[in-house]
């Protein structure tokens, strides 16, 4: 189902996103176990009584995970709750060993922020910190040892296994306002969040492995025909939540699909069911998982095992002062300060360390009277093989070598050009019949014959002159 234009003119998308990202702290959120679920060689090796939910296990909050969450909040312009706490979210699932997840209910660390997109601002409702669950693996037994046989297991038996390496890994959740009005905007927003998390070096956001997960709350609102650009006066009376989306492309497709599906229902004068849907990436459709009517009661209450968390205004300001300049701001500044095009800088700024190295290189370029934009272009086009582990001075040297030209007299070049022209009659005919692409061929030939490095632009001009003769 694709949204046709009539529907697009009739309905406006009302969408909010929930993004979960695993923080890459050394240890888990509430115990000292290693936080490396994807790197673990075997299941259940990074576990202890606390993250296994054993009797008497007790959580101790990871300070770094809390500070990183606040850091992300500050980067997204959020307000910070100086008094915050963890709450228990009670529900049963085999991958949740305590029968409750430690999360945050009414006092998240961060709230009320904003992220600018090229389609308009997206309000950040809240950012909170919670623990990830274990991982369920549904398998068919292939080999049985004697212990397995004793336990009544046999070849071909279907079993469900639990790996608790991921249990209690810090998971940050960023929730937006329903400010997203197109699939493209959703994608841009999510990509920018990922960029910021990676840039702040707090999360790897590996989407394939579930290090970053997307959920979209999607509904449609009719557009006021008389005043199509007017703001929504009220939100639609239903909401469809699409869960378990693990790529930006799938998210875009899922939103488009839902817009089409919901528009058809609305066209029939009905209201789409309030429900949770999943995304089937093979069929490119969403499918119903659970209706919201029997909405669960999580019996939230403050976790008595964890004392409330207090920060002073000074603490927060100190964190804010340590915050690096973010990619978007940096791109803008580089454009005015160094003349580096934003299309380059947006691709290059991936990580704070690399960005600092780049800026250092730009400064050297300026000193050496090289245009930083050309240096940036060479990096993008991989014309120079450099990395931030080498010094900026050496990198700029490399670039200089690449762009250095030999002092060659015009006469010498022209004599080589005449040779090349006389030896490639077919190409000359092609050129004269309007195929200007062969100029590249002539440049290459001339360069080789010449055996020296000359400025491409100058060589091109001379070649054109000769060819037109």
């Amino acid at each position: 189902m694709k949204t046709d234009n009539t529907n697009k003119n009739k309905y406006s998308l009302v969408c909010g996103l929930e993004i979960h990202a695993e923080l890459k702290t050394n240890s888990k959120l509430f115990c000292g176990c290693k936080n490396d679920p994807f790197g673990a060689e075997k299941p259940n090796i990074y576990t202890c009584p606390t993250c296994l939910g054993m009797p008497g296990g007790s959580p101790v909050a990871n300070k770094k995970a809390i500070e990183w969450t606040i850091k992300v909040g500050l980067a997204l312009g959020c307000k910070i709750n100086l008094f915050s706490k963890f709450d228990r979210k009670n529900y049963f699932y085999p991958d949740l060993p305590k029968s409750y997840q430690i999360s945050q209910y009414d006092l998240p660390f961060c709230y009320d922020g904003v992220l600018e997109t090229s389609f308009g601002p997206v309000g950040i409702t809240r950012i909170h910190l919670e623990e990830d669950t274990g991982k369920l693996l549904h398998k068919t037994i292939e080999k049985v040892n004697s212990a397995g046989r004793e336990a009544g297991l046999g070849h071909g038996k279907q079993v469900s296994l639990i790996d608790f390496n991921r249990s209690s890994v810090p998971l940050m959740e960023i929730v937006t306002e329903p400010d997203i009005h197109s699939a493209e905007q959703a994608k841009e927003y999510a990509k920018e969040i990922r960029k910021i998390l990676k840039y702040l070096d707090v999360a790897d956001c590996d989407m394939d492995q579930g290090g970053m997960r997307l959920e979209a709350n999607i509904s449609l609102a009719p557009i006021d025909k008389n005043n199509p650009s007017s703001k929504l006066s009220k939100l639609p009376n239903y909401k469809v939540e699409v869960k378990n989306i693990n790529s930006f492309r799938f998210m875009e497709q899922a939103i488009d699909f839902e817009m089409g599906r919901q528009a058809e229902i609305l066209n029939d004068g009905k209201v789409p069911t309030q429900e949770t849907r999943g995304w089937n990436s093979v069929k490119s459709i969403t499918f119903s998982q659970r209706t919201k009517e029997d909405s669960e009661d999580y019996r939230y209450f403050p976790d008595p095992d964890l004392p409330p968390i207090r920060y002073s205004r000074e603490n927060i300001e100190a964190m804010r002062a340590e915050l690096p300049e973010l990619p978007a701001q940096k791109s803008k500044r580089w454009a005015t300060e160094y003349g580096v095009e934003e299309r380059y800088s947006k691709q290059l700024i991936s990580h704070e360390i690399f960005a600092n190295w780049l800026e250092e290189s730009f400064k050297i370029c300026v000193k050496e009277k090289i245009e930083p934009n050309k240096f940036a272009g060479a990096l993008i086009n991989k014309n120079i093989r450099v990395s931030h582990v080498m010094s900026s001075i050496i990198a700029v040297e490399e670039f200089k070598k690449l762009s250095q030209t030999d002092e060659v007299a015009d006469d010498e070049i022209i004599s080589v050009i005449t040779d090349v022209i006389s030896q490639n009659n077919d190409a000359v005919i092609k050129f004269k019949s309007g195929d200007t692409k062969v100029i590249g061929f002539f440049i290459g030939q001339t360069m080789r014959k010449l055996g020296k490095k000359v400025d491409n632009k100058k060589l091109g001009e001379l070649l054109l002159n000769e060819l037109k003769k």
């Binding site: 008497g56 101790v60 008595p304």
Partner: protein
Amino acid sequence: MKNKMNHKLTLKQTLDKLKGNELTLDELYSDINQSISEQNKELNVYLTLDEKSLEKAKAAATSPLMGVPIAVKDNYCTKDLRTTASSLVLEDFIPTYESTVSKKLKKAGGVVIGKTNMDAWAHGSSTETSQYGRTLNPRNTDYLPGGSSGGSAAAVAANMCIAALGTETAGSIRQPAAWCGVVGLKPTYGRCSRYGIVAMCSSTDSPGPITKTVEDSAILLNYIAGHDPLEGTTATLEVPDFTKSLDKGVEGMKIGYLYKDLKGLEEIRSIFSEQMEVFKKLGATVDVVDAMDPKHGVSIYTIVQRGEVSSNLGRYDGIRYGNDRSFFGDEAKRRVMLGTYTLSKGYADQYYNTAQKVRTLYIKDYERLFKEYDVLVAPTSPWYAKKIGATEGAAMFGELEDLLIEASSLSGLPGISIPCYKDEKTNLYLGMNIIAPMYREDLVIQVADAYEKATKWNSWRK
């Protein structure tokens, strides 16, 4: 081997004799084991005994606690020693880890000789909710030992150990100590780590000693208290040497006498007023003080504790501990149901959140009282131990027995129960509860020690 009465020694006496080579660990364990084998069948104190305790004691002989046998409540996870919390759900649970407090005890040279019976999951004040049968009061076997640490208190009273560890949520150390005529010290919430102790009510659970004398409690507390990096609510404060609070007397101290005119305490009133004279003779002033009515404590404790219980017991879902939810006893089921209800959407504000606000009122009330008084005293329990079977059909049995303690437990305050009267006809004891401000176990020990030494109620005193 001369008198074969070494099981009757206090912790202090045992350590002194071991140090002075007047006693060997073989002699000590022989007497203790005999005491256990003679009485355990009838009293039902121990659910599990460590067969290797003498061996372990000998290995600990040079440590400060020199291998003395300690009875430990069965909700402390003990590595390689079955831990059931007196519930059939954990019938075969053998922990692979050690609770911080028992680890500290072992490190100091204490030996966990066995695991004591308790109310299942610590739900109750009688041991009658244990799924392994009730424990009897060693002072008079027609009576209950109290609970939930009833097994530990009985083990001490019956000289089946040298000292014991219990846990208290609201009365679970002090009430059985009172009923069994022994000393029970409930430390400040956060003073001793809860790590590795089967969680009941996480916001009030406090591990602590149950001993023959106040001095013994002070010695044990020295070893089990302190910050635990594995437990988020333990205090980072330094732990003083609590034995320094002994023999200091109470001269010049101001004591507030609580609940004197409370309805239902008529019978105990005259006995208690007499005991207040002891403090006056020792040079302290005693004033009758008005405090917030303790009956609200019962309501808020019931709401808070049931809510936390419903969440804490959710993990016993049948996936991992062998026995599934059908093995829960009636009391646990009742508490889970009530707790689930009070935390439900639409009810949490009415119940749980309101209860937490009232809790703050109690905390403020105690702050007010402690501006004027060094310690506050009151009866531990409204009257003597109840007869066996008393809990039948009395779902709120524990809460009412712990009426006089709950408000202070909810406020996190430290307290001690010491014997303060004995009924010669029944051989049963009454307990006096002494409470102090947060982290002032030293005051509690100081006052209790002075009283104990000035009176005849402690049965281990000559």
